[in-house]
């Protein structure tokens, strides 16, 4: 029985040693050399909220403006031609065989053509897309031989007729193509506008969300920055000008008196109380120094505080430290 327990004990000890050997890395290898700690102080130089400064909303607006300004510049007309390559060639060949101005007008002003009575019925024809497509192709193909015809020198009249017919066909084809292109471009334009609207809405919502986050962290409106160094320096100088430190007094360098001061909205001192009441009751020299500190606060009243930041200075702690007397 004893031997068994001895064996169990030995076994457990061995297992503990093995586990320690495997599990504790510091036994097997040297730990990396400890690096010196560099102490850094985080200084917040710019205060708090961005909501009032309007960085994010302005960027959203700017993006919206950019999106709008991009609308005319991006070539919406070129977009449909890319979608359907056969249409652009149609206008090009048309001018060549037909040097007349109307063709050019039709080409340059597809949208302005719409108000004209004649083009309208032609434009209304495209509603049957499947049929128009083959026609467009035919019309597209038709102009191609037209340019080749002049060099053949056939009968002038026949040629004129052929030319007229071809011109009419070409014209109708061009008009159809233009109408089709216009319809396509209008659809593309609609889609693009919707997309832009969605993008702009998304950006605006995201920017508003972040701005709202900042607004939650920001102080209540109207948004006012914290007391600046200049504010604090002004107050310090004002109070210093009223303070008569305990010069020559025994242990003057230990007579540091903290006074808790409350002010009204005009900066006038309402109350001035000594923080260390225990020492006030037991140390006469400290009591005299505290009395002088309290006198200083009332003598200096009102303090030159920024009136719009009342919430931040309605209560102060002034530490009167005469250590400079012993320097």
């Amino acid at each position: 029985m004893d031997r068994r327990s001895l064996l169990i004990s030995v076994g457990l000890h061995v297992s503990v040693v093995v586990l320690a050997w495997i599990g504790l890395p510091s036994i097997k290898r040297d730990l990396p050399e400890e690096q010196p700690i560099i102490v850094m102080e985080m200084v917040q130089s710019v205060p708090t909220t961005n909501l009032d400064q309007g960085d994010k909303p302005s960027t959203a607006k700017q993006e919206q403006k950019e999106a709008r300004s991009k609308k005319p510049t991006p070539p919406p007309p070129p977009a449909p031609p890319r979608a359907k390559p056969p249409t652009p060639p149609a206008p090009k060949p048309a001018p060549k065989p037909l040097p007349k101005a109307p063709d050019l007008k039709a080409e340059i002003l597809p949208q302005k053509v719409a108000p004209k009575p004649k083009p309208k019925p032609e434009i209304k024809q495209p509603p049957a897309p499947p049929k128009s497509k083959p026609k467009q192709v035919a019309a597209q193909k038709a102009p191609v031989p037209v340019p080749q015809s002049p060099p053949t020198r056939v009968n002038k009249l026949a040629r004129q007729k052929a030319l007229d017919k071809a011109r009419q066909d070409a014209l109708s084809g061009v008009m159809q193509n233009l109408a089709k292109a216009k319809a396509v471009s209008e659809e593309a334009e609609k889609k693009r506008r919707e997309q832009e609207r969605k993008d702009a809405a998304e950006k605006l919502s995201s920017s508003l969300t972040s701005a709202a986050g900042n607004a939650i962290r920001a102080p209540d409106k109207p948004v006012v920055g914290p007391l600046g160094l200049s504010d604090i320096d002004r107050i310090r100088q004002h109070v210093s000008s009223c303070w008569s430190p305990p010069i020559g007094t025994a242990g003057a360098n230990t007579l540091i008196v903290d006074i808790i001061v409350t002010l009204d909205r005009d900066g006038k001192v309402l109350t001035a109380e000594v923080d260390n009441k225990m020492r006030l009751a037991t140390d006469r020299t400290y009591r005299v120094a505290a009395d002088e500190a309290i006198r200083t606060m009332f003598k200096c009243s009102p303090l030159p505080v920024p009136l719009d930041k009342y919430e931040q200075w309605k209560s102060f702690i002034f530490g009167f430290d005469p250590k400079f007397l012993t320097r």
Partner: protein, 449 residues
């Protein structure tokens, strides 16, 4: 049993929660904007001392005198600036009436002293006073009592001490006296007598006739006796003078010469130098038995010993290092260490009643100086200088020094005037104490009350 344990655990948890909450709330309470004021205006405190009135509310002649003495005391300290009573808008009628502070605020004063003083039917001087804080608008302190009419200056000094203490935090020193050596006659036939006066030079009185040359008088801690060096029959020895009776007594009879006496703070011992067989060492004497105990043993001159306020250490000067320097040792003579290492020679060290600094006379570059240094020798500051300035003595509050200053002699033998001065330890407000004749070797008494 388990129930008790559970209760205990609950109790400790409750304590832990309370401590945590307390810590949190105390942090919140201190999360206020803090501004440290580390500079100020060093200027005398403006104060109004109203003429003391009689029972009818009218100013009395004795009340005028008291107000005058108090004003002079406070102003002489350099720490107060009494306002001329002509500027008062509404002079107060009685100390029991709360003043109208709006009449005092425009004067810019921080304090207002109001009092009454009159001689009652029994011929006693009745005095009452109240000190008001004009800025905080509250009563700071007050008091009163009766005294012999001849004590008008002491009463006034005591009231000035109250005011001084309330505005500086230090003990007042106006109700104190000074013993010094009054000098008269030509330099070849100089007459030196013991004299005593108030700290402001009033109530002057000669203590000795001048038949014997006297030097280095020192007050006992009770201010009832004076130890001094007396050349009786051309033999210099330490004597004791009892002020109340005028009785003198030689302290011990030794084969050598004794000089430079000074009392221990407890008053039961006295230390002095004894020159014997060409060696001058420091000895302490038991005032009851007049038994002496040698504290230093060197072939050099050890002299001018002075106790620390707690009586545990002694500072003295010695030339054991080749030049006259300051040394500190334990009260039993052990652990001697030099504390002055700057250029020049040092003499007559006196430990401040506050215990933090030591005043001394310094000789360097053909000039004499009065200075102070920390007890370890650091922080030496020179406060006054002159052809001959010597013998500093401390006011009982440790913030004012008194010493004497001698002017140089002219070629025709004239000059050499010697006067007592006092100066604040800040080095400001040096003032001469007016005495009937030339004065040297001042020693400031403890507070008399």
């Amino acid at each position: 049993m388990n129930g008790n344990r559970l209760t205990m655990m609950m109790f400790f948890r409750l304590i832990a929660v309370m401590v945590t909450c307390f810590g949190l709330f105390s942090n919140l309470a201190h999360a206020q904007l803090r501004i440290d004021i580390t500079e100020g205006q060093v200027a005398p405190t403006p104060i109004a001392i109203a003429n003391f009135t009689g029972p009818d509310g009218k100013v009395t002649e004795i009340g005028k005198q008291i107000a005058q003495i108090i004003s002079e005391d406070l102003e002489s300290s350099g720490l107060f600036a009494p306002v001329d009573s002509a500027a008062f808008i509404e002079p107060p009628k009685a100390p029991s009436i709360r003043p109208n502070f709006t009449n005092w605020t425009p004067l810019g004063v921080k304090g207002l002293l109001v009092g009454s003083a009159y001689v009652d039917g029994a011929g006693m001087l009745q005095v009452e006073f109240v000190l008001w804080d004009v800025v905080i608008q509250r009563n700071i302190t007050g008091g009163g009592g009766n005294a012999d009419q001849a004590a008008i200056r002491r009463i006034s000094h005591q009231i000035a001490d109250f005011v001084y203490e309330e505005f500086t935090g230090d003990t007042g020193y106006f109700d104190t006296r000074v013993v010094y050596v009054a000098e008269s006659g030509s330099q070849s036939r100089r007459l030196k007598r013991l004299a005593i006066m108030d700290q402001d030079g009033h109530n002057h009185q000669y203590l000795t006739s001048g038949a014997d040359l006297v030097l280095t008088p020192r007050f006992s801690p009770t201010a009832n006796e004076i130890a001094y060096l007396n050349y009786f029959n051309d033999e210099p020895n330490v004597y004791l003078f009892e002020i109340a009776t005028g009785r003198t007594e030689r302290l011990g009879s030794f084969p050598g010469m004794t000089f430079a006496p000074r009392f221990a703070p407890s008053g039961d011992k006295l230390i002095m130098s004894l020159a014997q067989n060409g060696m001058t060492d420091i000895y302490e004497m038991d005032m009851r038995t007049q038994a002496i105990n040698r504290l230093t043993q060197s072939a050099s001159i050890d002299t001018s010993p002075s106790y620390s306020p707690d009586g545990k250490q002694i500072v003295f000067n010695s030339d054991r290092g080749g030049s006259q320097q300051l040394y500190v040792m334990d009260a039993d003579g052990a652990n001697v260490r030099r504390i002055s290492f700057n250029q020049g020679r040092y003499a007559t060290p006196v430990w401040s009643p506050r215990g933090d600094i030591i005043a001394f006379t310094k000789m360097a570059n053909g000039q004499f100086y009065i200075g102070v240094m920390n007890v370890d020798g650091s922080g030496e500051r020179l406060l006054a200088s002159g052809f001959l300035v010597e013998g500093p003595t401390w006011a009982p509050n440790g913030r004012v020094l008194m010493y004497f200053k001698q002017q140089p002699f002219e070629t025709d033998g004239s000059g050499g005037d010697t006067h007592v001065y006092r100066i604040d330890i800040t080095g400001f407000n040096e003032k001469r104490i007016i005495t009937p004749s030339d004065a040297s070797d001042p020693a400031w008494s403890p507070i008399l009350r």
